[in-house]
């Protein structure tokens, strides 16, 4: 799929998330389907960049929407639905990663998709007309995925939310339940680590 499908539809013309939540609570299941469509792409991205496995991401995404649906009556609107569902996704992913770690002591490469890249129908981002550049880019992507996996889950989350998803520091702080300072410090550390691991490739 293209990145565009991961983005939310034009919200100006439709009901807000909170209005959809209210409709869902009144029994309009179609409203919840609309919320799923709005968030499925972004939540998929967050979970995938934490787990590096598409099957696990698919299962976790189902769990997240199911958990959110069941917990909707407890949603009091103190934070936005967007922050709330992101928190559920991150908590679920963290629990999953902890379980995986306990189960195997350390993460096995078998848990990850081959080359850290998705097996599903993804666009080929490598330049078609330059095979050398294509090989280089693939190698760089592999190295980046490898380096991302070496980061702690908290550091990987801030990198995912800031660098990949483009969220602001304040939004990330709300989602992760920490201060903006903590987010900045984690980002700084994570960038340093990634630059250190990828230094050779970035210099080329």
């Amino acid at each position: 799929m293209s990145a565009e499908t991961a983005l939310p539809p034009d919200l100006e013309n439709g009901p807000t998330d909170e209005e959809l939540v209210a409709s869902t609570l009144k029994g309009d299941l179609g409203a919840y389907d609309e919320l799923i469509r709005r968030f499925q792409g972004r939540l998929y991205g967050v979970i995938y960049h934490l787990t590096s496995n598409h099957e696990d991401t698919n299962d976790l995404l189902m769990e997240v929407f199911d958990k959110a649906y069941r917990s909707l009556p407890t949603f009091r609107g103190q934070s936005s639905f967007y922050t709330w569902i992101y928190r559920i996704a991150i908590n679920r992913s963290f629990n999953f990663l902890d379980k995986r770690k306990r189960r195997q002591g350390a993460m096995s490469l078998n848990d990850l998709d081959e080359d850290g890249l998705p097996k599903l129908d993804l666009p080929d981002i490598s330049p078609q007309n330059d095979p050398n550049k294509s090989i280089m880019l693939n190698e760089l992507q592999n190295k980046l995925n490898e380096s991302m996996l070496k980061l702690s889950k908290e550091h990987r989350t801030v990198v995912t939310l800031f660098d990949i998803q483009g969220l602001a520091h304040a939004e990330i702080a709300k989602i992760m339940g920490c201060t903006e300072g903590t987010v900045r410090s984690r980002l700084h550390y994570a960038h340093k680590q990634l630059q250190k691991s990828l230094g050779f490739y970035l210099k080329k």
Binding site: M1, S2, A3, T5, A6, D33, I36, R37, Q40, G41, Y44, G45, Y48, H49, H54, L61, M62, F65, D66, K67, Y69, S71, T74, W84, I85, R87, I88, N91, N95, L117, P118, L120, D121, L122, P123, I125, L140, Q141, L144, V159, D163, I164, Q165, G177, H191, L194, Q195, L198, G199, L202, K203
Partner: protein, 154 residues
């Protein structure tokens, strides 16, 4: 390459990861797949202990404590308060006349001397008021009184 340039390259590379997502078809089918998942989940009854394990390992949902977590914490807190503020009970004290002073204020026959084995109702008196009572021991073992009237249980 300067560190700033390296950083910019890294950010470009990270932005490319946005493309690591399944195709449109996957998302088009996702809502239907979710409905199937929900129906399956509803049909699969969880055993009671699975809920306990879930609460133990995931006491918070989206940063908000579960109702079960709040209830369990409140119960633990109340139990703790009750434990620390409850009446302090010490062991029975041996009195000079061979009687035993029970913390609840009851003076009963001593287990130490043989005479006390022949417990008479008149030996049992309340220390608090000093009034004699006619409470009889319910049973006596070889070493002394074991239990008395339920009101005097210790």
């Amino acid at each position: 390459m300067t560190p700033q340039n390296e950083f910019n390259e890294l950010q470009k590379l990270l932005r490319l990861k946005r493309l690591e997502t399944p195709g449109r078809e996957y998302f088009d089918r996702f809502v239907d797949a979710f409905h199937t998942y929900q129906r399956r989940e509803i049909l699969q009854e969880e055993p009671w202990y699975a809920k306990v394990v879930e609460v133990l390992f995931e006491p918070w949902v989206a940063g908000v404590p579960r109702l079960a977590t709040v209830a369990a914490s409140a119960a633990c807190l109340l139990a703790g308060v009750a434990f620390f503020l409850g009446p302090i009970q010490s062991g029975p004290a041996q009195l000079a006349d061979g009687k035993v002073a029970h913390p609840r204020g009851i003076v009963v026959a001593s287990a130490q001397n043989d005479e006390s084995l022949q417990i008479q109702p008149e030996l049992i008196e309340t220390a608090a008021g000093g009034n004699e009572t006619e409470l009889r021991p319910l049973y006596v073992n070889g070493h002394g009184a074991v239990a008395y009237d339920s009101r005097l249980a210790f």
